[in-house]
Amino acid sequence: QVRNELALANAQELINKINEKCFSKCITKPGNKLDSSEQTCVAKCMDRYMEAWNIVSRAYISRVQRESQGESL
């Protein structure tokens, strides 16, 4: 259960960040509705943010592993 809550908090934080970053990138002048070009932009931005999140995760975890191996040498 603790693990589920953690996964949920993690997903929630990711959604919040995507919301913040992609709103600021894609909706520069908020209009009467979220038009189709804004929706396309948010969809692309969201995919890019998750890609970036994966790249950053890999880079960080691999660094942490290298550092902890260095310590044990």
Binding site: I15, N19, F23, C26, P30, V42
Partner: protein
């Protein structure tokens, strides 16, 4: 039990107020450039749309995430 209900509704009220602070902060930066004697019509419309579009974006993201998960 009554206390529990009361505290829960106060909690909801607090989250509501926190959201209002967050949106005012965000939409102030997006909509207000010059400090004038009154918020004009254009700025007011911008503020209202800013809140609405931010929430639309939020719903759009959650919906799309769920669709992606279903496809997996």
């Amino acid at each position: 039990k009554e206390l529990g209900k009361f505290l829960e509704s106060e909690n909801a009220r607090m989250r509501l107020q926190q959201s209002i602070h967050t949106f005012t902060d965000l939409c102030w930066d997006k909509c207000i450039n010059k400090i004038s004697n009154k918020i004009d019509r254009g700025e007011e419309t911008c503020l209202t749309n800013c809140v609405e579009r931010f929430l639309d974006t939020s719903l759009f993201i959650v919906k799309r995430l769920e669709e992606t998960r279903k496809k997996l």
